[in-house]
C-alpha cells in the first residue's frame, strides 16, 4: 500500500530534489505515490497548499514564514522540514545598465560593495539628468529575490523604495521584460539568468552566493496541522528528498539529473543549462565570459538541506527592515518555529548529523544575531523600520 500525495512545484532548478525524488523512484521506495503538480504562480502554490489541494509544496522560504504570520494573506501555519536549495539566484542587468555600472566602477567588479556603490552613482546621475528611475524585477513581495536585491543595493546607498522601482514579475516573463526594456535588471533563480545571457540581452552581475554565503531559498513545506497528523508521511518525503539530493550532488549523476529535470512536464529547459547551473559554472556575458562559484546552488551538500532557525530569523528581519512586518518577540518566535530541524533529524536519524554551518554570511553589516534583530537592523542606514 502506498500513500498518495499531491505536491505542487514551480518549474525552477531548485525543485530538483523534489522532482528527482519522484522521477528516480526515491519516493516510491519510501512507500509514497507522489503526483507532482506544476504551477504557474507562487500565489497558486500558497493557496493550494493552504486549502489542502496540495499535501506539500516546493515553496519560497519567505512565503512559508509570511503565511505562518498572516502577512499579506490569510494566516495558515506552515512548517518547513527540508531545505530544497540554498542560494541559486543571480542578479542580471541589461547591457545598458551593465555598461553604466562598469563606467562607474572603482575596484573589483565581482565585489558586491563595489557594484552597489557604482549603482548608487548611476542612480544619482539619472536623477540629475531627469531620467526615469531604474526598474528592478523580482518574483514576489515575500521572496528571497526581493530581499537580496534590496540588501545589495542598500549597502551601496540606494534606497529600494525611494531611488528605484521594484516590481514583481513571474520568472517566465523576466527575460522578455528585460529584452523589451520594461525592467533594467532582475533577480531570479535558475535557469532564467542564463537564458537572458544566452539570448544576448543580459549580463549576470552577481551570483547571490557572492552577496550571501548561505541563503535559504526554497523549502519543502507542509501545513502544520497536517504535518502533525501525518508524521510518518512527512518523514518519508524528507528521506526521499534527502536521497534525491545526495544523488543530485554526485558529479557522475549530473547528466542524468539534467535530463530528468529538462522534461517538458518538469522544468522544460535545455539540459545543458541545467547542468551548468548545478555545477555553478555560468556564462555571465553574451561574449562568453564565464564565472564560477561552487556555492552557486547547494542541493543538500554541506548539510544545506537541514532547516536552520537562524535563517528563518534572518528572513523575518528582512520583512521588518522593509516594513512588511512589525517587530515583536512573538512574531520572531513564530517565524523561527516555521523551520523544523527536529522533523529533519527525526526523519533521517544520526546519518543527517553532519556538521552544519549555515551562517548567513552577508557581505555587508554585522554578523547576524537572531535574538537581537533590533540591534542588527540598527546597523543599517536604509530601511523602512525605525527602531
Amino acid at each position: 500500500m502506498s500513500t498518495p500525495l499531491h505536491v505542487g512545484f514551480i518549474p525552477l532548478i531548485d525543485a530538483a530534489a523534489l522532482i528527482v525524488a519522484v522521477d528516480k523512484g526515491f519516493a516510491r521506495a519510501e512507500g509514497l505515490d507522489v503526483t507532482l503538480a506544476r504551477e504557474v504562480s507562487w500565489s497558486n502554490v500558497r493557496d493550494k497548499l493552504n486549502i489542502g489541494l496540495f499535501d506539500a509544496a516546493h515553496l519560497l522560504a519567505p512565503v512559508a514564514i509570511a503565511s505562518s504570520l498572516g502577512l499579506g494573506h490569510v494566516k495558515v501555519p506552515i512548517v518547513a522540514s527540508f531545505n530544497l536549495g540554498l542560494n541559486g539566484n543571480a542578479i542580471t542587468v541589461s547591457p545598458a545598465l551593465h555598461a553604466a555600472i562598469l563606467r562607474e566602477i572603482d575596484g573589483d567588479r565581482f565585489d558586491p560593495m563595489v557594484t552597489a556603490r557604482a549603482l548608487a552613482r548611476v542612480v544619482a546621475a539619472r536623477r540629475k539628468s531627469g531620467a526615469e528611475p531604474l526598474t528592478f524585477g523580482m518574483t514576489f513581495p515575500f521572496s528571497t529575490h526581493n530581499y537580496q536585491l534590496r540588501f545589495w543595493m542598500a549597502a551601496g546607498g540606494v534606497d529600494p523604495d525611494e531611488d528605484v522601482r521594484m516590481v514583481v514579475l513571474p520568472p517566465p516573463y523576466m527575460v522578455e521584460s528585460l529584452a523589451n526594456k520594461q525592467v533594467d535588471a532582475f533577480c531570479v533563480g535558475a535557469p532564467w539568468n542564463s537564458i537572458a545571457v544566452d539570448l544576448g540581452i543580459g549580463h549576470i552581475l552577481h551570483f547571490v552566493s557572492d552577496i550571501l554565503l548561505n541563503a535559504v531559498e526554497k523549502v519543502l513545506a507542509f501545513r502544520q496541522g497536517w504535518s502533525e497528523r501525518n508524521k510518518e508521511v512527512v518523514a518519508a518525503l524528507v528521506r526521499a528528498a534527502f536521497r534525491a539530493a545526495e544523488f543530485i550532488e554526485q558529479h557522475e549523476n549530473r547528466a542524468e539529473v539534467a535530463r530528468i529535470l529538462a522534461q517538458p512536464e518538469r522544468i522544460g529547459v535545455p539540459a545543458d543549462v541545467i547542468q551548468r547551473t548545478l555545477e555553478g559554472r555560468l556564462k555571465i556575458s553574451p561574449d562568453g565570459t564565464m564565472h564560477e562559484n561552487k556555492r552557486y546552488l547547494l542541493v543538500g551538500r554541506e548539510g544545506a538541506a537541514r532547516p536552520d532557525t537562524a535563517q528563518a530569523a534572518w528572513l523575518y528581519a528582512q520583512m521588518v527592515r522593509w516594513g512588511q512586518a512589525p517587530l515583536s518577540p512573538a512574531a520572531l518566535d513564530a517565524a523561527m518555529a516555521v523551520f523544523r530541524p527536529d522533523l529533519y533529524d527525526a526523519a533521517l536519524g544520526p546519518e543527517a548529523r553532519e556538521p552544519v554551518s549555515n551562517v548567513v554570511g552577508a557581505f555587508a553589516g554585522p554578523a547576524f544575531e537572531p535574538r537581537d534583530i533590533a540591534g542588527h537592523l540598527a546597523a543599517f542606514e536604509i530601511g523602512r523600520w525605525k527602531g
Binding site: 513581495p141 521594484m166 514579475l169 523589451n180
Partner: protein, 201 residues
C-alpha cells in the same frame, strides 16, 4: 407604502484579467446580465499593474492559469508604487467559497473596504461561469478528437479495402475486432495502419 427605496449604490468597477478571450467574454456577459455594467477585460499582460492603476477598479478577477497573479500580490504592499491597497477576497469563515473558487480556477481581489455582500454575488457568478467554460472546453476537446478519429478511421478503412479487397463494413469490423483484441482504441489501430502504410510506400 410609498417609502422611497434607498439610492442604489453605483455598480462596482470590475476588471477581468484573462488571456482567454472566450472565457472572458462569457464572464463579462454574465456580469452585465446581472447588472454589473462597469466591466473591462485585460488580455495583454504587459504593464499589467500600470493598466490596472489607470482603470482604478474595485474588483479584479484573474484566472489561476495566469502567472501574472503574482504581480497582483504586489498590490497588498504598502509602497510608493501602490495607489490603493487591494486585498484578496478571502472570507476566512467561508472555506467552501475559497475551495470553490480555486477549483473553478479563478481568484478575486478587492479594494479594501468594499463590502463582502457586494462581492459575494460577483464571485459566485464568476465561479459558475468559469465552471461552465471548463465544461464547454472539455466537450469541444472531445468533439475535436472524435472528429480526428473519424478521419483517421475512414482513411484506414480505405487502405484495408484496397489491400485486402474488403467491403467498407468488413474493413470496419476488422478494425474493431483488432482493437478489442489488443485492448486499444479503434483510432489507435487506424493510426498504426496509416503509419505502416506510409512506411511501406
Amino acid at each position: 407604502m410609498g417609502a422611497e427605496s434607498p439610492p442604489k449604490e453605483p455598480s462596482p468597477k470590475i476588471v477581468i484579467v484573462d488571456e482567454s478571450p472566450i472565457r472572458a467574454a462569457i464572464l463579462e456577459e454574465g456580469l452585465r446580465e446581472a447588472g454589473f455594467t462597469g466591466v473591462v477585460h485585460i488580455s495583454e499582460m504587459q504593464s499589467l499593474l500600470q493598466r490596472i492603476y489607470a482603470l482604478d477598479p474595485d474588483v479584479i478577477l484573474i484566472d489561476l492559469e495566469n502567472p501574472s497573479r503574482d504581480i497582483l500580490e504586489q498590490m497588498f504592499q504598502v509602497s510608493r508604487a501602490v495607489r490603493r491597497p487591494i486585498a484578496m477576497f478571502v472570507d476566512q469563515s467561508d472555506a467552501a467559497s475559497i475551495q470553490a473558487s480555486v477549483d473553478a480556477g479563478v481568484s478575486a481581489y478587492i479594494v479594501d473596504g468594499l463590502k463582502k455582500e457586494r462581492i459575494k454575488p460577483i464571485l459566485d457568478l464568476c465561479i459558475s461561469r468559469f465552471n461552465a467554460f471548463a465544461k464547454l472546453q472539455d466537450e469541444l476537446d472531445r468533439a475535436k478528437s472524435a472528429l480526428e478519429d473519424r478521419k483517421v478511421i475512414d482513411r484506414a478503412k480505405g487502405i484495408l479495402m484496397k489491400l485486402k479487397g474488403l467491403t467498407e463494413e468488413e474493413a470496419y469490423v476488422l478494425l474493431r475486432s483488432t482493437a478489442m483484441r489488443e485492448k486499444k482504441k479503434i483510432g489507435e489501430i487506424a493510426q498504426s495502419i496509416l503509419t505502416a502504410s506510409e512506411l511501406l510506400k
